[in-house]
């Protein structure tokens, strides 16, 4: 989504360096759970039930990284941190990668590619599987169309298409919530609250209000006061 932030073109070199530094730090940070999982897999320290460990770790990583990608715009609206928009695309793609690994583990290691069993035992009887599958189904075209070429090709529709990520976020929370026991709903409910906040910031009146608040507070400190406006994609 952030393929057009035009690093360095509108900023002095030093700012460009800072942007790169930030991009690398966040991207590598988002890949850390994958590296850690790979290391434990290599070392054979994934615990008593590796299938379950991989399931939980990839699932949680997918959700958190997806939510970080959804937090980019709110952070820009509230704080004017234009820089965070540069990591939105890489976070979205990494979230998709975790979700794909999550599915691969489910299909390959948990169900050993027994598609008949997956259909009858899982998809048709477990609503949370359906929600998770649907979320991944939504994320797939978003990942494919994240390139500059697709952004150009789709024009206005690109933004509409990518607004589906909100639906994916809701489905992911439902997926997590519906599989949890009554005693273990705390974590998914926290994610639900976080998602609600991230979506709330996007509601146009809320968004406008937050932006005027920020401008009022920071207008004495140019040029970051108009950062969000500057970061808006060129038409």
């Amino acid at each position: 989504m952030s393929g057009r932030t035009q690093r360095g073109r509108q900023s002095p070199m030093i700012y460009s360096w800072r942007e790169h530094w930030f991009w690398w730090a966040v991207t590598l940070g988002a890949l850390t759970p994958l590296a850690w999982l790979g290391w434990r897999f290599w070392q054979g320290t994934l615990g008593v039930d590796p299938v379950n460990t991989i399931n939980n770790e990839t699932g949680r990583a997918a959700l958190i990284v997806l939510f970080l990608s959804l937090a980019c715009t709110p952070l820009t609206i509230i704080f004017g941190w234009r820089r965070v928009l540069t990591v939105r695309k890489s976070l979205g793609l990494i979230a998709f990668a975790y979700a794909a690994l999550h599915l691969a583990n489910f299909v390959g290691l948990d169900y050993a590619f027994d598609f008949d069993l997956i259909l009858h035992d899982a998809v048709l009887t477990m609503p949370y599987i359906l929600a998770g599958g649907l979320a991944l189904l939504i994320l797939t075209p978003l990942a494919i169309t994240s390139t500059r070429g697709w952004i150009k090709r789709l024009g206005r529709n690109w933004k509409r298409l990518h607004q589906l990520v909100y639906a994916a976020g809701v489905l992911v929370v439902l997926h997590f919530l519906w599989q949890a026991k009554a005693a273990e709903r705390e974590e998914p409910l926290i994610y639900a609250a976080v998602l609600a906040l991230l979506l709330l910031v996007r509601v146009p009146p809320v968004r406008r209000w937050l932006m005027t608040q920020r401008t009022r507070l920071t207008h004495r400190k140019p040029p970051l006061g108009h950062a969000f406006e500057q970061a808006k994609p060129a038409k």
Binding site: V48, V51, D114
Partner: protein, 334 residues
């Protein structure tokens, strides 16, 4: 139970280390004697895991003697259950435990449970009985010969293990307390020690944990009180020093660290059943045809394997226990 044929006999590395629990007949009170098989006894057909074997009288031929109640290393008499499936490893069984008294994370329970000091332990058998008793673990060892039972454990979460328990039929204990004619149910209660069990300081479940069986279910010879596993006393995370094991029911029925057994004439409250009656029934018999509201129970993953196994009716003990539920609609009485 199915006889295990000689061809399925224990592999060499296991039988060379073979140890047996036996009643401490003539031994120091409160201890459990160790009897090692001599090589001459190894070629006989294994007795089925659920039969009380005659205590092996071979002399203590090993240089490794039991310390107090435990053995030097985990041992079992066979390498697989009567269906031919291998036992789960000791470290798997002791590091993957649903025991919310310590943690909701199955792989953290073992370390949290080090704070628990079960001994000395008293178990009270009370309620509608003519002969109420309070027993220490030593009393239990002295009164009831401990035998090995290799059982499948099927968790309601759709994973399973094969575990070589050591214990005794709860029927023996129930006969000793002489239930009154009006007794119909057996209630079990876990110890309540929030100082040692940090999970009990939170309100995720109602404490202390409780479970219940119908009296005829509890009297079934497959239902045991376990005191050990792999020839060693139960670890804290498994429900030391004594727990219920009902192999044809989901694991949560097999209540751990039991302090009270009470015979009642009304159906006892069971913790998970009370917490979510639509998800966890009182009977909780393993049944591939009755799904949990949020997931299927038709298949399960054996710990240590990838892929799924078909879940068996009554966890594979259908021939032994199905008569207990004749005429009942198991999709309603789940």
């Amino acid at each position: 139970m199915v006889k295990i044929t000689p061809s399925e006999i224990t592999p060499e590395h296991v039988f060379l280390n073979r140890r047996r629990f036996m009643a401490a007949a003539g031994a120091v009170a409160g201890s459990v004697a160790l009897a090692a098989c001599s090589p001459a006894t190894l070629n006989r057909s294994e007795a089925p895991a659920t039969n009380a074997e005659p205590a092996l009288t071979t002399a203590l031929g090993s240089e490794r003697l039991p310390e107090a109640l435990g053995f030097a290393e985990p041992t079992a008499s066979a390498a697989q259950d009567e269906l031919g499936d291998p036992l789960n490893k000791f470290h798997e069984i002791t590091n993957y435990n649903n025991f919310y008294e310590f943690s909701t994370n199955k792989e953290v329970v073992a370390s949290e449970a080090t704070a628990f000091n079960p001994y000395p332990w008293q178990i009270e058998v009370t309620g509608l009985v003519n002969n109420p008793m309070t027993l220490s673990i030593e009393d239990i060892y002295n009164r009831y010969p401990q035998e090995e039972r290799i059982y499948r454990l099927r968790c309601v979460e759709a994973w399973s293990m094969v575990i070589p328990w050591v214990g005794f039929p709860i029927a023996a204990l129930l006969k000793d307390v002489a239930p009154k004619p009006e007794a119909q149910y057996v209630k079990f209660v876990t110890v309540y020690r929030p100082d040692e069990m940090r999970g009990q300081r939170s309100s995720i479940l109602e404490w202390p944990y409780q479970e219940g069986l119908r009296l005829d279910e509890a009297m079934h010879p497959l239902a045991i009180l376990a005191t050990g596993m792999y020839g060693k006393p139960l670890t804290n995370q498994q429900g030391a020093p004594i727990r219920l094991v009902v192999p044809w029911k989901y694991g949560f029925k097999s209540i751990k660290s039991v302090v009270t057994i009470e015979l009642t004439d009304t159906i006892p409250g069971a913790t998970w059943n009370t917490a979510a009656p639509n998800e966890y029934g009182f009977y909780a018999n393993v049944n591939p045809r009755v799904d949990h509201p949020r997931w299927s129970q038709a298949s399960e993953r054996r710990i240590g394997e990838t892929g799924r196994r078909d879940t068996l009716m009554f966890n594979g003990y259908e021939d032994e226990v199905a008569y207990l539920y004749e005429g009942m609609d198991l999709s309603r009485s789940f």
